[in-house]
Symmetry: C2
Subunit: 147 residues, 2 copies
């Protein structure tokens, strides 16, 4: 599949590397060229420098022909804007935005945007790791394990 990822931080670069290794056609966009250092040397995908919410930059990154667009930059507004441009202007069939603010996440959800909200996800994971662990046991909880 053709995947365009906006945001080459820890998460974006990890996904880019994995998807690239799995044979997907990956393009990564980041406003800061230094962010591409997160990518391993093995990364064979394309790097585009610029604001990924910008329609012209998305054009360069080939969002028009992308199967998936992932907005994983820092900043809820940027991510939300980026996926809407990708979806409504370039017709990206599948878009996912990382949105930290739970309230905004719900709103964007209602706008038909696939949202991943780290705050509520981690809230649950931390609670499970903290309260589902035997105090006597030093072993990692299944949650801890799962991460």
């Amino acid at each position: 599949m053709r995947v365009v990822i906006m945001g080459c931080g820890r998460l974006g670069s990890m996904l880019a590397g994995e998807l690239d290794a799995e044979g997907h056609h990956v393009t990564v966009i980041d406003i800061d060229q230094a962010a591409f250092n997160w990518l391993g040397d093995g990364f064979s995908g394309t790097r585009v420098v610029g604001p990924g919410e910008d329609s012209a930059i998305q054009e360069v990154a080939g969002v028009k022909h992308a199967d998936v667009f992932l907005a994983l930059a820092n900043g809820d507004n940027r991510n939300a804007m980026a996926v809407q441009v990708a979806k409504h202007i370039h017709g990206a069939p599948r878009v996912v935005a990382r949105i930290y603010d739970p309230d905004r996440a719900e709103v964007y959800q209602q706008l038909g945007i696939n949202v991943v909200n780290p705050t509520t996800i981690l809230d649950q994971m931390v609670r499970e790791a903290a309260f589902a662990t035997s105090p006597e046991s030093d072993a990692p909880s299944s949650d801890g394990d799962g991460v």
Copy 2:
């Protein structure tokens, strides 16, 4: 239960508010007093200003009598240090640290620390949201829903 949370950011404050509302005895530590603005007005727990990895600050926060210590500050090293102080110096029976670096997360896991690693968790959530969604459907994916 007595819960001490280091780091009053989006996640720490959300957990603090929830646990407080559920009747737990919650103490929040943050190096920046302004961070307590994340807490809702309804929060009836204790606020301690200072570096939560500092043994003396943990003493003030009552970690000695805490059932759970959560290290949710920014900075893997601070969180890892804090849970080790809480566990080995103050005898906190249950500790959880948020560790962003997957490699470090694995190491701390092996040290018997419950670790929640946002990077690998979100990697999975984003993949599911992106690849398990019907392109035709605008409906939030179950993953999106779940967050």
